[in-house]
Symmetry: C2
Subunit: 294 residues, 2 copies
Amino acid sequence: MTAPVGADVEDGPLAIICGGGPFPFAVADAVMRHGRPVLLFAIRGWAEPERVAHYPHHWAGLGDFGWFRRAARDAGCRDVVFIGTMLRPKLRQLCPDLTTLSYFPRLIGLLRGGDDHLLSGIGRVFEENGFRLLGAHQVAPEILIPQGTLGRHAPSERDRADIIRGLAVIRVIGPFDIGQAVVVANNYVLAVEAAEGTDRMLARVADLRRDKRVPLTGRIGVLVKGPKPHQDRRLDFPSIGAETIRAAAAAGLAGIAVEARGAITADLGAIVAAADAAGLFVAGVAADAAGGQT
Amino acid sequence: MTAPVGADVEDGPLAIICGGGPFPFAVADAVMRHGRPVLLFAIRGWAEPERVAHYPHHWAGLGDFGWFRRAARDAGCRDVVFIGTMLRPKLRQLCPDLTTLSYFPRLIGLLRGGDDHLLSGIGRVFEENGFRLLGAHQVAPEILIPQGTLGRHAPSERDRADIIRGLAVIRVIGPFDIGQAVVVANNYVLAVEAAEGTDRMLARVADLRRDKRVPLTGRIGVLVKGPKPHQDRRLDFPSIGAETIRAAAAAGLAGIAVEARGAITADLGAIVAAADAAGLFVAGVAADAAGGQT
């Protein structure tokens, strides 16, 4: 799964379909460092125009599949990476071109169901059209969270027990294509992420604590985050950023545990610095950390 | 488990330890209708003083176990029911009497862990002191949600599929002592309840829809609620009320499905009337409703 990394420069530039946030640029930079040219297809309304401007790019709408297919082929792109934030669209937001329109019967079925279902279906459409869909972590492995304690602070015994419980919860809800994160404090599951996203879940924990809905004081509890078991990692990978650290600190947590190589970050250095400053630990943990090792 | 119901009048009055909300009074009324006298031990800060005043009662603090034991024995109470809302207390909120204080080493262990753990531990303390702990549903079975479509509106095919998915999620998270409710819409799990409670979870779904974080329009989705598999039903039972209907309507849901005889309500008539008026269905569903029947 991690073969690529610049090995196939002969396949032409890498097409990077860019959603919002810093990830598309972290990936583009890494790919170029590995010696492969890139071509960004920046999604209107999501990708950041000022940053996109620094790379070879086209702007595209979500419904422009026919146009994308032509432009990517013309540029000699065979490999495609999807990266960046984007919410589930409604069909009528798509402004489809004719090719996209021909896929509507399938899309309607895909929109009914969880994110995994939608994304793997979209992935198949790209593959059927002769593209090779790669994961951002395959072309830019440096974005993966490594294993171990990553900053100055380390998880305590109690934190480690909370991490193990959190990983177990993530494991059982995985088949339901729910969220990818939970908050566990002192062995008590405070929050489970579903459609709201990690930052809103952390804001909820901050509210619960401020409103004294949970009897906790001091820095306690861990955000545990990992990929869903059947998640297509080429299309949807859990991610953390400096805002995750800020939200976890505001929720009074002791730290963040992410499944090692099961989540990505656009700037590990910035995260570790933010965590060190806030007094939080950040750890990459083995998915099968039942023994308690981080 | 459902033997009691007024059968043991010779055991003296039923001691009802009352938290907040309407349940203590619904239970007291039902028990008196069944011919058994009651004695309310109203918890200061939680039970509603105006309503408590209509029943034989004492006021008590959460830490008054020694005093309660004496008062209940003096009144000839052997059976005890806990009912009504109460948040997890902090030890230092307890103002313990000496007897309660002697249980502190155990309480400290109980407060570490989920609600089930805490409640079953407290239940054991009552039993060790010669009380028989009964479930409110055993002395007042009329508070249990019955099976079937309870109001004017019935779940659609799609709603039924959402109900089945919701029940499956509740089943897998049960062992973790998390929440008792999820929201599923069009086969997509929108929210999982943990420490925040059902009303806040529903408010979150309303927010997600208002902010267009989920691509749903029209009345769609179901609140699915049931007991945790290992929950001690004498101490903690999921409940719904008219405010649940209001919150579900505000979240744009099509209806509410509750595990039949697996949840309680203080006033079924009021709930059904509120649901009918709001255009929502309310259904009591079999826990093993994998076949789709309601």
